[in-house]
């Protein structure tokens, strides 16, 4: 029974933390949000190259296919960093979720080797069209799309689809409707295999959203602590007022008790445990609640500044709102838990937490 991460895992997390602190400061996010026309695409390309150099895209590509073969548990630390720094969805969708689907294909499916290899190198983006999401994130900039059709998985090159783009409140997030035509040539998994691949993808998607929301909560708390330490009112830093402290303390409590839930869910998924789905749903709900509270509390302790575009809080707040209903909204996840645990034969109570 061990909840700790290995030294390697911690070291890689710390590396990515420093990397993003340097390469993705808020000013860069602002540029990407505001400056779509001008140098945004060169900023994106530059950043994408640097991320690839870090090996992030190879993380869970199996070793036989040129990757590091790491597991869902490793992504727990990574998604928190992606959330903390507001990294756009294409990274995690490609490197974690698409890789999960591709890795589940039979080895003789040529798409597998080709695209796992290309992903591991870091130069491509794959969009995932899961039926749990109404629209597909970043489909307009993907090289390949993995799409659902009657539980089958289809791999469709960007050239074969038509895309309409919607803006999200998170301006770094592009939500697309994709028009495409399924064909035997695009099908890479039949419905039987596809069903399990899509189920795993939903769990990975929800888990990734959960990890990012927890990271976002931490970022919002950090921004709020810094602001309230500096800003004075009635002659004292506002962070010394009890009401302000209690706002942020409540977020800290929610976050602390979301983290082990997230970790357990990732472990259960990696181990293929039967309750992994319920545990993932728990993580999504718990981390979502932490992020939601962090945004509400953050804006409150920022006072009027919290309502402005200038203050960095808004960037992470909006990203958290966007992720809250992605990969299954609260209803979806509550119902999974209810189906699993509000029943007479459920394994509940002391001693039933771990298999």
């Amino acid at each position: 029974m061990d909840f700790t991460f290995s030294e390697d895992q911690i070291a890689f997390r710390d590396t990515m933390h420093s990397f993003f602190a340097k390469e993705l400061p808020v000013e860069t996010i602002r540029k990407l949000w505001e400056n779509e026309a001008a140098d945004a695409s060169s900023i994106r390309a530059d950043l994408a190259g640097k991320i690839a150099e870090q090996g992030l895209f190879a993380l869970s590509v199996p070793e036989d296919f040129g990757g590091l073969g790491l597991s869902d548990v490793d992504w727990v630390l990574m998604t928190q960093e992606l959330g903390y720094y507001g990294v756009t969805d294409d990274v995690v969708d490609t490197a974690y979720i698409a890789v999960g689907i591709l890795a589940g294909l039979p080895d003789d499916q040529p798409v597998k080797a080709e695209w796992l290899g290309r992903i591991a190198e870091g130069g491509v983006r794959v969009a995932v069209g899961h039926p749990a999401n109404r629209l597909i994130a970043h489909a307009d900039r993907a090289d390949l799309l993995l799409l659902w059709h009657n539980d089958e998985v289809h791999a469709v090159p960007a050239a074969s689809v038509q895309v309409s783009v919607n803006s999200s409140v998170d301006l770094g997030r592009r939500l697309c409707r994709v028009n495409w035509t399924p064909s035997p040539a695009t099908r890479i998994a039949d419905a039987a295999l596809g069903k399990s691949l899509w189920a795993d993808a939903l769990n990975r998607g929800a888990l990734a959203a959960a990890g990012q929301m927890l990271g976002l909560a931490q970022r919002m708390v950090d921004i709020s602590i810094a602001y309230t330490a500096e800003r004075k009112q009635f002659g004292k830093p506002i962070g010394s007022f009890q009401a302000v402290k209690h706002h942020l303390a409540n977020v800290a409590v929610k976050s602390e008790f979301s983290r082990p839930v997230l970790e357990r869910a990732a472990y259960a998924l990696a181990e293929g445990q039967s309750q992994a789905g319920e545990f993932v749903s728990h993580a999504k709900l718990a981390c979502g609640e932490a992020a939601w509270l962090a945004s509400r509390s953050g804006i409150q302790v920022h006072g009027a500044m919290g309502y402005t575009w200038e203050v960095d809080l808004q960037i992470f707040m909006k990203r958290a709102w966007a992720l809250d209903a992605a990969w299954g909204d609260r209803a979806v996840h509550k119902n999974r838990i209810a189906d699993g645990y509000l029943r007479a034969d459920a394994l509940l109570g002391a001693g039933n937490t771990f298999n």
Binding site: L135, S167, Q233, A325, D329
Partner: protein
């Protein structure tokens, strides 16, 4: 206790309704935090005023209808019910107007009120300062008397739509030695004077409805002083109470939001009921919007009968701001994965303006005195707890 409208009130409601039906723009105006939207709203209020509905609570001799608070509530109900635009002129007619009527000289009234009513002058408030948000007595912007002028230096912030307004009003420190709420004066400032720089502040939705105003040796004639020099705090506070809050936070607004929320819920019922707690949240929205309305009518009926407003009015701010957030959060939950979409997108069918309303609602617990400060006030002034 008689919770019925009089025949006169019913007739008044009908009159408002008829006019609104005929005149409210069929196509929604642009957001009034854009220049184009500001101009559209200004034009609408000009028309409203020409119809005799611009400032129904103002006295008849000033172009109003001398409506009492109950009639005002009826007017607001019909205004909101008709889907009429937000009031871009509210800082003038609800905040400064009543203050001018009470403290202005005859000349000032004659000079300012008619142009305010006709939207020839649009007014922006200039209260807050970077170091004086909820703590208004910490104002530091100086207005130094120099002959027949004040020379203003300093900075105001959170000034709503100051970029397009003609005038600003607010408190300035005329006694440089003074502290806290002493030595402040209430001064009216044309915003096109030399030395004034206005810098927009963008808000959560990306629009810049707020602005900072920088004053650099701005010379304002002394006749722009409202009330006595050094007596600004009293002038500001006299009209800062319930009526002001009420005018700005009409219950009709929340009732219409509640109505739209129920419609949204009904239109998405099957989806929404997957999450068993959403129906509860919708019920709560109806209850609290009703409660806010009833409470307002209750206070209004007391005031109309000559009663005084008590410290319990400090509960209003907390209630409406939490209600507004609750309703918009509930709408976001009903919309689920659609909630994040900006309404312009090709696939944003049915999301309406809930997201923007949600962003706006988040300002509620903060502005006009944060809810934390309101709770202190309630505890100390209404409940008599120790400081």
């Amino acid at each position: 206790m008689d919770l019925k409208y009089t025949p006169e009130q019913i007739a008044f409601r009908q009159e408002v309704r008829t006019w609104m039906q005929a005149n409210v723009p069929k196509v929604p105006l642009q957001d009034f935090d854009t220049e184009e939207g500001f101009m559209q709203h200004r034009a609408w209020e000009k028309k409203l005023n020409e119809g005799g509905w611009g400032m129904v609570t103002w006295p008849r001799e000033l172009g109003g209808r001398s409506c009492n608070l109950i009639e005002w509530l009826i007017f607001e109900e019909e205004y909101w019910r008709a889907g009429a635009p937000l009031r871009v002129n509210q800082n003038g007619i609800f905040l400064l107007g009543p203050t001018l009527m009470e403290y202005g000289t005859d000349e000032q009234k004659k000079r300012f009120l008619p142009r305010m009513a006709s939207c020839e002058d649009m007014w922006a408030q200039a209260w807050s300062e970077p170091g004086a948000g909820s703590d208004m007595a910490a104002i530091r912007t100086k207005a130094v008397r120099d002959g027949d002028h004040y020379v203003i230096n300093g900075q105001k912030t959170w000034s709503t739509r100051a970029r397009w307004a003609d005038w600003g009003f607010g408190l300035f420190r005329t006694d440089p030695e003074s502290e806290r709420h002493h030595g402040l004066s209430y001064i009216l400032v044309p915003l096109d004077l030399p030395g004034i720089t206005i810098r927009p502040i963008r808000q959560l939705n990306g629009l810049a409805g707020f602005a900072e105003i920088f004053f650099d040796d701005v010379k304002v004639p002394v006749e722009n002083l409202l009330g006595k020099e050094g007596g600004g705090w009293g002038v500001a506070m006299a009209t800062a109470g319930f009526e002001r809050g009420l005018m700005l936070r009409s219950p009709a607004r929340y009732q219409e939001t509640a109505r739209r929320l129920v419609s949204l819920y009904l239109a998405n019922r099957e989806e929404a009921d997957r999450d068993a707690s959403i129906r509860d949240a919708v019920i709560k929205a109806w209850m609290d919007a009703e409660a806010y309305t009833l409470s307002t009518y209750r206070t209004a009926s007391k005031l109309v009968q000559g009663g005084k407003i008590g410290p319990e009015s400090s509960t209003n701010k907390i209630f409406w701001s939490e209600l507004d957030i609750h309703m918009h959060e509930t709408a976001m939950r009903i919309l689920g994965p659609r909630a994040e979409l900006l309404p312009e997108g090709p696939d944003a069918d049915g999301v309406g303006n809930w997201l923007d309303g949600f962003l706006f609602s988040l300002a509620g617990p903060i502005y006009a005195g944060s809810n934390e400060i309101q709770r202190n006030i309630i505890a100390e002034r209404m409940l008599g707890m120790p400081r």
